[in-house]
């Protein structure tokens, strides 16, 4: 029984990690007023690039760096379309997802079914990992897990406590007033989209070089979209994103826990998606007005317009 509990917590953390990374990135991006529906596509690109670079160089961290670079580069497309050309953000994000999924399928084709011989080793935190039960469950994890939590906390501190973070938030709330304060709204939004893309790519890298250690087309399996829903669930706060993501990690794990009970695996596979809908419904029933969404989310900003 102990074994089961420990491994369940451990797997919940593993399943929640990519969700947390992607959600943190999307929070950052949406706080600046840009809705980026390209998460799923950028994640796929991150996954495939991390996998290819890790496999060819034997250096997982080089794979991570390459994935982040690729994620940032491809996000520029959405930034340019939605910020400079004021294009429809919903459609631009969808296009980015199509492009990302397509590129990942093309790049990854020769690598399908080839397992990674060098993997990113789990790290045990000294002393903390010796704590009975939770030590093994929480402090003997993939580096991505610690990275995700640290980055979420940093993002929270950045948004809530730093001058630059306030600029990002006010850019999403009232870009015109922000511009009169001497802030370059376009630059803030560009960077928010690009950094958000880096986070999505990190989430993808976790999937391919730590979580499953292989590349399969479509392996992101809708996690990018769930991250967008988690952004709402976390009420645009990276701190809340931490527990929100691990709640969802638990739902992913519940699929496998319930399978021995004789329930259809396809029915269980619906769980994360159905839970997303149910949780959004619950949030809305509780208090839709206090959702805290950036006021100018998805509204293009045009310099010099009244």
């Amino acid at each position: 029984m102990e074994e089961i509990i420990i491994s369940t917590i451990q797997r919940t953390m593993v399943a929640g990690t990519p969700l947390l990374l992607a959600t943190t990135g999307e929070v950052l991006c949406e706080r600046s007023g840009i809705l980026n529906l390209g998460v799923e596509g950028v994640m796929a690109v991150g996954a495939v690039v991390a996998f290819i670079v890790t496999m060819t160089t034997g250096q997982p961290w080089l794979g991570v760096l390459a994935a982040v670079g690729a994620g940032m580069a491809i996000s520029v497309i959405h930034a340019f379309a939605s910020i400079s050309l004021q294009a429809n953000q919903v459609v631009s994000g969808l296009a980015l997802t199509m492009l990302g999924l397509g590129l990942s399928g093309m790049l990854g084709k020769p690598y399908v079914g080839r397992p990674l011989s060098i993997k990113m080793e789990d790290v045990a935190i000294p002393y903390l990992s010796d704590i009975p039960y939770i030590g093994k469950a929480l402090f003997h994890q993939s580096p991505f897990f610690y990275l995700a939590i640290v980055l979420a906390l940093v993002a929270w501190f950045f948004l809530e406590r730093t001058r630059l973070g306030i600029q990002v938030r006010s850019t999403g709330e009232n870009p015109k007033a922000t511009e009169t304060q001497g802030v370059n709204v376009y630059a803030v939004r560009y960077w928010s989209v690009i950094i958000g893309g880096a986070f999505s790519a990190l989430a993808g890298a976790h999937l391919s070089i730590s979580y499953s250690k292989s590349w399969v087309e479509g392996m992101t399996a809708g996690r990018g979209w769930i991250a967008i829903a988690l952004t709402i669930f976390a009420l645009w706060n990276p701190g809340r994103a931490i527990w929100a993501s691990f709640v969802f990690g638990g739902i992913f794990v519940a699929q496998y826990l319930m399978q021995p009970l004789g329930i259809s695996p396809n029915f269980l596979a619906m769980l994360p998606y159905a839970a997303t809908l149910i949780i959004l419904l619950v949030i809305s029933l509780l208090d839709a007005k206090k959702l805290n969404a950036p006021a100018m989310l998805a509204a293009p900003y045009k310099r010099g317009e009244r």
Binding site: I77, N88, S92, G102, S264, N266, L280
Partner: protein, 358 residues
Amino acid sequence: MIQITTSDRFNITPFRSFMTNVGSLGAGILAISVVFLLAGVNPLFAVSEIFMGSFGSMYGIKETITKAIPLILIGAGLTLAFRAKFWNIGAEGQLLMGAIFATWTAQALGNSLPATLTVPLVFLAGFMGGALWGIIPAILKIKYAINEVITTLMLNYICAEFMTMLIVGPWKGKSRFGFPGTDNLPDAALLGVIPGSRIHYATLILAVICAVVLTVLIYKTRFGYEARVVGENPDAGKYAGINFLKTSLILMAISGGLAGFAGVGEVAGIHHYLGYPASVSSGYGFTAIIVAWLAKLNPLYAILSGIVFAGIIVGGDAIQISLGLPAATVQIVNGILLIFLIMGDYFLHHKIKIKFGK
């Protein structure tokens, strides 16, 4: 020094709009050529192969029309939803739900009723399946303020899993030798095809009729006006006495229902049984988003843009074989074309002057 100034353009003629689309597609094809070059494929050869594969032979043309049917149906429905700024990304699930309802009706009635009764009932059931899957997000959006992009997407995944659950479980056919999938639909439920092709003409005719009727609905009726107001100016809509819930329910029932029709066509016209979701749809719901966008949200133009993108799918299949490119190539092509199409709107709405000199 190069100085670039932009100003708004107000006189947008249909001709300018058309030329902008052509320009956007041209620029998109250039960008795609770069991707082909990087993949080590001669872009001129690839683009001509895509064109020859889809429009260069009788077989190609027949296949293109076959695949245009679901794209026209779904694309036309999406133009209505998108006009109301209802971002229906769930046509994939709506198509599958239509296919599920159609299969169920066909299996239940097809052995006792003649084709003249079964086929219309199967179409009706397909419409209802798609409509049901379309109005759920409409209710969630209008009554509970839940973002429709997320809900329609989640419903896609849910429907695909539900369908798989059916075909590996209770609906698994005895004639499939243990493989997932239902038994073949009864003959009375099958759609006729143009001899020597896979074109199920009943659905083709239906698609064209739907596009025409929707065009009338959007441009000539009070409902079409209300749908546009719902999308463009929700505040004004309230004063004009528009019932948001009712309007949204109707427009999503239509949009989802047309995707359901597409599901009927795929099951009763092509496959003749319900198999895996990916084989029933192959991404029509997503491709139709670009179809609607290229049509400038005009359902009548969706006929033409549906044929264009059906050609890209068929031509994409052709270059997979002849050039050894992966299936994902079509997604790249679609993604790039969509990006260029929406970016093109900027040049439609803005005048850009470039000055050289000091």
